[in-house]
């Protein structure tokens, strides 16, 4: 291809100017389609560090920028243009924050906690503001205040603990604690194996408790609501309570001051008590070491491996049984479909056995119309006519008439299917209307498994005499949990047999059955 030089220059210039124009728009913040904005303002004691164009953010997201700053009554009134997509309410608080110690400030707007939202802020309305400490000197004064408080605390601590008697007591307490922890350590070490087994059993039991809580979700939610109410009341009462506690602690303080000598005495008593505890632990250690060595009945029991092996095994077995039973589900559905073309209907009762959420078995009985996965009953009648022909081959010696008579005596069929779930799909295989069948269900997401699209292929028999393969597909929608409607297209592959069908039915789970049979509260 031969491009002449004028074109070359033209293309180059246009590309560069396009790049230049693009970045000019970006950098100059020129918006061809300007977003609608509104203006709000806030008063600040000091607007140091912010200027025209400073970002205004909410929850870290830029929602606008500073338009202008005016001095009013000794305060800085900062006007901010806010993108109309974002709403700022009058009780929101604006504060000046900074990115780092070196400056680069921005304005952060945050919702006020625990207040009802009112109508939107109008143009040029003022919102509340607060000043956050942003200067280094302010921070340093705060630090120095904190440091002086800390110093007072440490001084008073020194007065109470720094004395000779206090020191001695603390030393004694520490020594006893050290011995105590050593003994505990030994105890745990001796019984480590047993502890392990107990812990693993605890883990499995807690897993089931977890399952139970999931089932009793509603009850727990109610309980939490009650707790919530209680805590709300408590919050109301809290100020008076804290007032009381304050009074109490004042009194306590007074008492303590009065009884300092007594406290010293009680520290001594604690010292004596810990010594006693140490003795007790020593004895306990002796007992447990005896048990460990296999002395006495308990010792023999504990030290024989088979005992806890058996215990462990039986616990595991109970686990499996409890787990399996709680997962098992039974579902029953009864349905009927009307076939528009042949004016027949398919009625069936199916029982779904669901040992786990991943798969299920479906067993059922169906009453089907002729030709629907069904053998034709065909009778052949032959009639002979004998009228003694004169001679020659021109007269037929007999006439054969074929009559085909359809019958479908065997209209009750059986279903037995195995189904496996993958994500939103379920694959089925087995017997459908007493013929070999495969199928697939697709549960449309976000409908809670209520909207189902499905396809079935059946009629695969080894003796295929008179039975045609049949493929149908349809949509089923469940509402009110128990009722479903069903519509689809039957026998898609064959021109002559194609038919729309409509149907519906009811379905139950084992919970509903329990309710129906035993009575009681509806789950």
């Amino acid at each position: 291809m031969n491009i002449n030089k004028e074109t070359k220059v033209g293309i180059f210039v246009v590309i560069v100017i396009a790049i230049l124009a693009y970045f000019s728009f970006k950098v100059g913040k020129i918006h061809i389609f300007k977003r609608p904005t509104y203006v709000i303002s806030a008063y600040f004691k000091s607007a140091s560090g912010i200027g025209t164009g400073t970002s205004v953010t909410m929850a870290g997201i830029k929602i606008g920028s500073v338009e202008k700053i005016r001095l009013e009554k000794g305060l800085a009134r900062v006007y901010m243009t806010i993108d109309s997509r974002y709403k700022v309410y009058p009780q929101y608080i604006a504060s000046i924050r900074s990115l780092s110690l070196l400056g680069e400030s921005y304005i952060a707007i945050s919702p006020a906690a625990g207040e009802e939202q009112s109508e939107k802020v109008l143009n040029k309305e003022v919102i509340r503001s607060e000043m956050s400490p942003q200067s280094m000197s302010g921070l340093i004064t705060k630090f120095s205040k904190t440091a002086s408080d800390l110093e007072k605390v440490s001084k008073s601590l020194k007065n109470s603990i720094g004395t000779k008697t206090g020191e001695k007591n603390i030393k004694a307490i520490l020594r006893n604690i050290a011995m105590l922890s050593e003994n505990l350590n030994r105890l745990v070490y001796v019984n480590q194996r047993n502890v392990d087994v107990i812990m693993s059993n605890f883990a499995s039991i807690s897993r089931h408790i977890n399952g139970l809580t999931v089932q009793n979700d509603a009850a727990i939610t109610r309980t939490i609501h009650n707790f919530n109410a209680i805590s709300y009341n408590l919050r109301k009462e809290l100020p008076s309570i804290t007032r009381n506690i304050k009074g109490l602690s004042k009194n306590l303080n007074y008492i303590v001051a009065k009884n300092r000598r007594n406290i010293n005495g009680s520290l001594k008593n604690i010292n004596a008590d810990t010594k006693k505890l140490k003795l007790t632990l020593n004895q306990l250690y002796g007992i447990s070491s005896k048990i460990n060595n296999g002395q006495g009945t308990i010792g023999k029991l504990v030290n024989r491996n088979s005992v806890y092996d058996n215990l462990n095994g039986s616990l595991k077995g109970i686990n499996n049984i409890v787990g399996g039973y709680s997962r098992f589900r039974v579902k029953v559905n009864m349905s009927s479909q009307y076939l528009a073309r042949s004016e027949g209907s398919v009625s069936q009762v199916n029982v779904k056995l669901e040992p786990s959420p991943g798969h299920y078995y479906e067993l059922g009985v169906a009453s089907v119309p002729m030709g629907y996965g069904n053998t034709y009953g065909e009778t052949q009648t032959t009639t002979y006519t004998t009228n003694n022909p004169p001679s020659g081959q021109f007269y037929p010696s007999s006439v054969t008439t074929n009559t085909t008579q359809y019958s479908y005596s065997n209209s009750i069929k059986f279903n037995a299917l195995i189904a496996k779930n993958f994500y939103n799909f379920t694959l089925l295989a087995g017997l459908l209307y007493s013929t070999g069948a495969v199928g697939v269900n697709y549960y449309v997401p976000d409908t809670g498994k209520n909207l189902k699209i499905y396809a079935r292929a059946f009629g695969f028999n080894s003796d295929n005499n008179g039975v045609s393969e049949d493929i149908n597909a349809g949509v089923a929608y469940t509402f009110y949990r128990h009722i479903f409607l069903d519509a689809g297209y039957d026998n898609i592959t064959e021109n002559s047999q194609r038919s729309i069908y409509l149907g519906g039915g009811i379905k139950f789970t084992d919970k509903d059955l329990k309710y129906l049979i035993v009575g009681g509260k509806m789950p």
Partner: protein
């Protein structure tokens, strides 16, 4: 008498230098005036203009692009070493973008194009002058300014800002590559901060500079071409002068323009 002459010889040199410089500047002004007259009389030779635009623009793209890319990468890396100490690595993007747009983009483009095209202009016209082709043009009633100078100067003034834009853009991209892939910093920060800190005036003042640089390099180069004398040796000498003078004047003008514009 001889002693006095010897004592005065430094003054003689100073005087010569002043006269030479004034003469030179005056010649350049006269040269520019002649070009204006030529434009007024004959307008512009469009065919030559387009040829020169291709030569200065598209054909220089690789040189200018590579210069910009590596400059941007180096800037980003150097800025990182400094910014890391203070903990303001988010300012690397604006640093690279501002220095490319305001300073390095126009200046480096002008220097590279001086080296590539200015030298070529000077030697081409110089050879024509030495072999008396320019006289031949005049004999054929073709104005040499119309045929040779005006297209070159205009082409340089048009293409230099465009090349400077490309140089700056590629430099910023180079800085981005280093910032994101070699230093492993946040790519959004780089771009966001550039948009935050770069102003429109930064871009357009940079472009204005580039226009001046284009004028300087092309006028000096063609002027030196027309001045050439002394055969093949003279062509070499005047070409060298053209490149050196152009570069020096570009850097000098850069300082002047910066102090006026920003």
């Amino acid at each position: 008498m001889n002693i006095i002459i010897k004592l005065l010889s430094p003054f003689e040199k100073i005087g010569n230098f002043v006269i030479y410089t004034v003469n030179e500047l005056g010649s350049i002004v006269i040269y520019m005036w002649d070009m204006m007259l030529s434009i007024a009389a004959y307008f512009v030779n469009l065919e030559n203009l387009i040829d020169q635009m291709i030569f200065i623009g598209m054909d220089s793209f690789y040189v200018v692009g590579l210069t910009g890319l590596f400059t941007g990468m180096v800037l980003s890396l150097q800025a990182y070493y400094a910014a890391k100490i203070v903990g303001v690595t988010y300012m690397i993007g604006p640093t690279v973008a501002l220095s490319m747009l305001r300073e390095l983009g126009p200046v480096l483009t002008a220097l590279m194009i001086t080296a590539r095209c200015g030298s070529s202009m000077a030697s081409e016209i110089g050879t024509m002058k030495v072999t008396e082709q320019i006289d031949a043009l005049e004999v054929m009633a073709v104005d040499p300014y119309y045929f040779l100078s005006v297209p070159r100067v205009l082409a340089a003034m048009i293409m230099l800002p465009l090349m400077a834009v490309l140089c700056s853009l590629i430099g910023i991209i180079g800085g981005y590559i280093v910032y994101v892939y070699f230093l492993g910093l946040n790519h959004v920060t780089y771009i966001d901060k550039i948009y935050q800190y770069v102003k429109l005036s930064d871009i357009y003042n940079g472009l204005l500079k580039a226009v001046f640089f284009g004028a300087i390099l092309s006028i000096i180069s063609t002027y030196k071409g027309f001045q050439t004398s002394g055969g093949a040796k003279g062509v070499g000498k005047f070409t060298t002068q053209a490149v050196v003078l152009s570069s020096v004047y570009i850097l000098f003008a850069d300082y002047l323009l910066t102090s006026i514009l920003f």
